[in-house]
Symmetry: C2
Subunit: 423 residues, 2 copies
């Protein structure tokens, strides 16, 4: 990985130099939290910590970065030397990936000498927001999909290649079964899946020739895209091919009246003994469509979920902040209207009633309470202390967490606010 030292805002650097110049190098704690959940989110899934820890390891300044900074005429040689030797040697406290979290809960807390903790601000917010936002959107599809397969088809519409790759990770955590994103498959070991595009069907003289050619090469993955010309006609062609012995795993419908088309397709397939042929739907899929279609009895076996989830379209950013809460052991507050902050490094305690989450308390670190502790020390003096779980383990955490979430919070149409007591 390249040096990430310049992945910051200029003011982090000018402030850091000034801190050093003023002898302000005491231990600071910055806390990252979402002030208020977006309208359509009753809870969030914590995600992005592993990505963040790796990035912090690579938050360094090589000669190229130093040369650029020198060219700005703002930085003195001794500060550039400080950056050249920059290594994060502080502590990182965090709520584990996959845990359900709410407003005002410290997802990540960075404890380090203030110039170092300050320099990381931009990267910490950026990294945790993206994956937490996507996981928190993706899980809504998982909640309504009733066990049907969910696949990330969003790469093309993500905000950049990196966003697409990290979104694949976040959606797998949140219960998706696979991704179309090959790089995410390689990097994270997520199962990769895919069918065929309309262009493929259009290249062959006849639709059935395209299906035949595909099945020849990929008999175990023979899912045919049937909506290039006339969906029902194409389903009939699939039946004909299947009867000829062409391997037929499923069909994919990407447009049209999904409820009507899937029911009709299912009927045709079943009447011809093709009960095992799956129906996959894509095109504008989100949690609202999934719920609507399944509620109307559409016989869908799997969904390709794309654009709206990968951009978190109904909540494409969070009211997320990285705030100074403690300096040299003393509490730090901000009093700006509407942006009140809560001082001190904190632990979050969670309380359950009948096995379900009842309320959380955030308290000053070190204050012992009864509930379950959510915040763990991950990095101590710059060294990873806590083993980072595998993606599959995080995914299992999410599923356990959902079992403990009160039912009303799982309703995608309902707005519930969880109680977080700030003590």
């Amino acid at each position: 990985m390249r040096n990430l030292g310049l992945c910051t805002d200029l003011y982090e650097l000018t402030m850091a130099q000034s801190y050093l110049y003023e002898g302000k190098t005491g231990k600071a704690v910055f806390s990252l939290y979402v002030r208020k959940l977006p309208e359509n989110r009753n809870f969030l899934i914590s995600a992005g910590l592993e990505t963040l820890i790796k990035r912090i390891e690579n938050f360094k300044f090589g000669e190229e970065e130093i040369r650029y900074l020198r060219s700005l005429g703002l930085f003195k040689d001794d500060f550039l030397d400080y950056l050249r030797e920059f290594e994060f040697d502080g502590n990182i406290y965090a709520i584990p990936e996959g845990r359900i979290i709410f407003q005002n809960e410290p997802i990540v807390q960075v404890e380090a000498s203030i110039p170092k903790a300050q320099l990381l601000e931009t990267m910490v917010i950026n990294t945790i927001q993206l994956e937490t936002m996507i996981a928190s959107k993706a899980v809504r599809s998982y909640l309504v999909a009733k066990g049907k397969k969910l696949v990330d088809f969003g790469f093309r519409r993500a905000h950049g290649l990196e966003a697409g790759i990290l979104a694949a990770r976040a959606s797998f955590i949140a219960g998706f079964d696979g991704t179309s994103n090959v790089e995410a498959g390689r990097r994270f070991g997520i199962p990769v899946v895919g069918t065929m595009a309309h262009s493929y069907v259009m290249i062959f003289d006849k639709e059935e020739d395209a299906f035949r050619a595909f099945a020849r090469l990929y008999p175990k993955n023979a899912i045919f895209l049937v909506d290039t010309y006339d969906t029902i006609e194409a389903v009939k062609k699939v039946v004909k091919l299947a009867k000829e012995g062409v391997p037929t795993v499923g069909i994919r419908i990407d447009s049209g009246d999904i409820v009507k088309l899937t029911k009709e397709a299912r009927r045709i397939l079943d009447e011809n003994g093709l009960e095992n042929v799956k129906i996959i739907v894509s095109g504008g899929v989100d949690e609202y469509k999934i719920k609507e279609w399944l509620d109307k009895g559409a016989p869908i076996d799997g969904f390709g979920v794309g654009t709206k989830f990968i951009t978190s379209a109904d909540a494409p950013y969070f009211d997320i902040a990285y705030k100074l809460v403690e300096y040299e052991g003393k509490p730090k507050y901000k009093l700006s209207p509407g942006k009140k902050t809560f001082p001190y490094k904190r632990q979050v305690y969670r309380y359950y009633k009948g096995g379900k989450m009842a309320y959380d308390e955030t308290v000053k670190w070190g204050e012992e309470r009864e509930g379950e502790k959510l915040v763990k020390l991950y990095v101590e003096n710059g060294k990873l202390k806590e083993k980072l779980p595998s993606l599959k383990e995080i995914r299992e955490v999410v599923i356990e967490e959902l079992n403990k979430l009160p039912e009303e919070f799982k309703d995608i149409y309902r707005r519930c606010e969880y109680e977080v007591k700030i003590l």
Copy 2:
């Protein structure tokens, strides 16, 4: 840059192998266009072409990528050899960056043997969507800012580090004056700017000590953040410091009743002979806020524009597609409901009336018309043919384009549809 070959969807690879297996290697044309502009966009700014061309040069498969693909059990050795030798040797036609574009206009057209053109699909959509979307959002702030300075403060809330860096590029094209994003400054030569954060102010015992320390180190950049505790009180402290001779370039207000606070701050500054001290505003800034504040007479000299622009929050994705339009010289159509496509490689002709854009025509490539041609051949047989302009040149194109855009299209509240004739 690393190999980007896996930055694709799995089906691009399975289709490509099948094309080769079936001997379908004829010349195809794929066209990238936005089917319908989002609700709040009357026009788009074409952007991302340089990024795309560089990425296509790096669309390669090294041994690591090949090893992963082999592990999937889907690909034969001769196809993996094909990928190992993959090099784009086709043609890329595009509308230059900075031009104003509308629905159904081919932003990028890729002409190559079909497996190659197909493999690039995901990356072409992803790359052009991001920068075009951000430039098209950012320019709306430029349209209402009446010449006030605009700075990209969005890095922390972008969808990933890469999205933040590319958004800085796109916003500079669209008329912004600078960015807080240091990596974007290094990479693209965009002016970098920044002030101080609340944490900085909070670290000092007194607010004025923070201002003093900052001005000492950065006399030419002494912009003081005044809303940590009480905005007006802080402005009075700034006045006191300025009278003591502390360099004072400006103040920044990040919260509160912006119209009221900026008017009051301006009055206090002016009454004390500090007419040259600038007022910068940040926090929730978008084109609607800028227009509202300036319409109400808020004396603001510059805006830090952040979250809403960098996520294109009111239109976080486009209805954008990369469609097969021609194969072996023959037209290709798709007839799916609501997703009709237009065949052939195309040129776009633009017509003006009284110096203003009147309508466009998209016609089959080679058909000569009267209007101004928008589409250029950039890459021929894999080689860059057209010099890519500098960012500053692209920025000038945008400004010229805006001069030719009919006034009603510049109204951020109005919905206008430009006529694009598809012949």
